[in-house]
């Protein structure tokens, strides 16, 4: 296999989406066919390979179209689940940080309690004049 062959296959691999096992099986078949072709015409570059075998984008689209709808749905569901999980973790973390920032002091009747050493000092805020 030439460098052009490896580069082409790498580009195709980057574009493919779906089940790992199916991608692996297709790439195995494709790389055998590309290698066979390069044995006959070793001077083919990446562009010539894309012309003969199809551009990586074309192949990725076709690969998606030939997948079972069940697999496609599953792949999308997994993406959805991961996305929801990440959003949930970020939201929970933000809520935790907000609580820590805004409710860092204990209070009694609206007055802050500060602990200095073993003593407990209560600061009384001046009453608002109406």
């Amino acid at each position: 296999m030439t460098k052009a062959g490896f580069d082409y296959l790498k580009e195709v691999e980057q574009q493919l989406c779906g089940k790992k096992a199916q991608k692996k099986a297709y790439l195995k078949t494709l790389s055998a066919d590309v290698a066979e072709r390069l044995e006959e015409e070793p001077n083919l570059d990446c562009a010539a390979l894309a012309l003969a075998f199809g551009s990586p984008e074309e192949l990725a689209t076709e690969f998606m179209e030939t997948l079972d709808t069940k697999d496609v749905k599953k792949a999308f569901n997994w993406k959805k689940i991961v996305l929801i999980g990440v959003i949930a973790i970020v939201v929970i973390w933000l809520i935790g940080v907000s609580i820590a920032l805004f409710d860092g002091h204990a209070s009694v009747n609206g007055n802050y309690l500060e602990h200095i050493g073993d003593e407990e000092i209560t600061f009384f805020l001046p009453e608002e004049t109406t």
């Binding site: 494709l30 066979e36 006959e40 075998f53 074309e58």
Partner: protein
């Protein structure tokens, strides 16, 4: 037009590949060339698409592949049609003929109406 041709190719590629393999064992590049040659350059199947079709047909047990040494170093993967593939080909050919007949009937019907 190109999109319509792509869809038509996708729908018929499996049948045509099985049809060629019924006549003789072939390797991928040979199949692409033979389709191109027999159609007078009209039916050009991408080799990457053919790899996909061959992989699916092999998984389904319609064809089987074997690697042969050509010359000293070169290898080729030849594909052979299996009994299940022959059954599938017969079914696809029947569906194709029926569809072609139906489409032609629609066109002829419209011609008769306008005459």
């Amino acid at each position: 037009m190109a999109q319509a041709q792509d869809n038509f190719k996708r729908g018929t590629a499996e049948m045509l590949v099985l049809y060629l393999l019924e006549q003789e064992d072939m390797y991928a590049y040979q199949i692409v060339n033979e389709l191109n040659r027999r159609s007078g350059g009209c039916y050009r199947l991408l080799e990457g698409s053919l790899s996909m079709i061959l992989m699916r047909m092999e998984e389904a047990g319609l064809i089987t592949g074997r690697t042969e040494l050509v010359g000293k170093r070169r290898t080729r993967r030849y594909y052979t049609i299996m009994p299940l593939g022959r059954e599938k080909l017969s079914s696809l050919m029947h569906d194709y003929q029926e569809m072609i007949f139906g489409i032609q009937s629609i066109i002829d019907f419209q011609k008769e109406e306008t005459e």
